[in-house]
Amino acid sequence: MTLALVGYYEPWWVQVIKATVIFAVGLQLVPIVLITERKLLGRFQARYGPNRVGPYGALQPLADIVKLLTKEQFRPSTATGFLFALAPVVSIVTAVAAFAIIPFGDVQDIFGTPVGLYGVDVSIGPLYLFAFGAVAFYGIVLGGWSSGSKYSFLGAMRGAAQLISYEVSQGLALVGVIFTAGTLSLTGIVQAQEGMWYVIPQFFGFLVFLVAGFAETNRAPFDLTEADAELVGGYNTEYGGGRFASYYFAEYLNVLVVSGVVTTVFLGGWLLPFGLRPAGWVDPFVVLAKMGLITFLFIWVRATLPRPRYDQLMSFGWKILLPLATLNALVTAVLVVVTHK
């Protein structure tokens, strides 16, 4: 497959505009997810959630961010200065970079210029995602280690252990989809779901990927790296002000990225069921709505499930997720070979 076939035919200025638009949209989605989560968590616990700042508390994220950004940047005397400042940057850069490959729609004709409604359509879609997902853990490990505090360090160690116990299963869960679709391009995977979304034939892959996604975003029930109860916040214990805001932002952006990937890979991206084919400009809204559903699931699960013990997570990752993912990939491979001959 040459570069021309995977979306590099666009002129540079289109790329720049697209990058700006996607970054701006992503930036605006994070506060929405934030306030939605806090309101929903409130509702799950039979209370209102924030409702004092702005109408129905809608300006709460703005107030949070202003508060965090106007705070002093401090660091413990035991911290490794350079790495301490670098770690949140790693976290946020990887989150934004991963957001770039989520396809929000097919190639559209906008004022005579064909524009693909995605950042880049790389021919190695899922691999790009795993690459940045793995680098994102440097943000956590470095942040925890360079803080020079035992709680941060424990959080970082847990992050590392968690990474190896779920990442293989996450990769294998996607392998089944890639076999079936026959392509690594995310837009190609969406187009291959024209007849049936992969959530049905790849149901176990979907489950495994979703569970691994909870672990990747470090959210409940797999928020062992943060674990407020026993680690006082884990890797970000010593962070405050803008650096903490970066970690916070990266966490919610990661939730959006995982929702986007699940939408793209298992829920048919911008495709609608029952043969509905709306105009091209509807596509991004379809994707956003599906992402919203997955994000709701994230919040719902956070409100429901308690955090497992450290060793329980490891044994779950190695003894249940990995065999399931492997079996799923094997069965899919056999079926693909049998049916395509």
Binding site: L40, R43, F44, A46, R47, N51, A303, T304
Partner: protein, 177 residues
């Protein structure tokens, strides 16, 4: 000879260890049950009372800030300055200085009246003994519980403040509520 515990031994009966199917159900089925439970809570109305705007109604016998009373017909104060309330007060927060009524200056129907009547509400424990001790029902406990202030001296309520018709800031619980 060893001690025979006899009937005191408690045999712990444990359920058999779950098999593969049962474990799977416990992992997934119970998770789904938990999700169902939390979703149901989301559809209910929150139980929060939005305090400064909504106030929890109090019962009629709620013991809030004290009130001093006057006779409705003559307008004279009921308090005769006997200091029984101050004697009954376990927190020692009531100060009464009595003075003689004269025909020209009659404040209460008795021989004497309270020239100074102060309650230090930062000391008061709202036990209601003053109300019980009072022979003329001159002091009663009201319903007001919003008593925060910026200085301690502002919490010493004088006779005028206690006699004044209080702002009814606290809703009263209706019958059967």
């Amino acid at each position: 000879m060893t001690w025979d515990p006899g009937e005191d031994v408690i045999e712990v009966v444990r359920a058999p260890a779950p098999g593969a199917l049962r474990s799977t159900y416990r992992a997934f089925g119970e998770t789904l049950r938990g999700l169902k439970t939390t979703f149901g809570r989301m559809l209910e109305k929150p139980v929060t009372v939005q305090y400064p705007e909504e106030k929890t109604p109090v019962y009629p016998r709620f013991r809030g800030r004290h009130k001093l009373h006057r006779f409705e017909d003559t307008g004279l104060e009921k308090c005769v300055g006997c200091s029984l309330c101050a004697a009954a007060c376990p927190a020692d927060c009531i100060r009464v200085v009595a003075a003689e009524n004269t025909p020209e200056h009659r404040v209460s129907p008795g021989e004497r009246y309270a020239e100074v009547y102060e309650i230090n509400l930062s000391r008061c424990i709202f036990c209601g003994y003053c109300e019980v001790a009072c022979p003329f029902d001159a002091i009663t406990m009201g319903h007001d519980y919003e008593l925060s202030d910026y200085t301690r001296s502002d919490l010493i309520f004088t006779k005028e403040m206690l006699l004044a018709e209080p702002l009814e800031r606290t809703p009263l619980r209706r019958e059967g509520e």
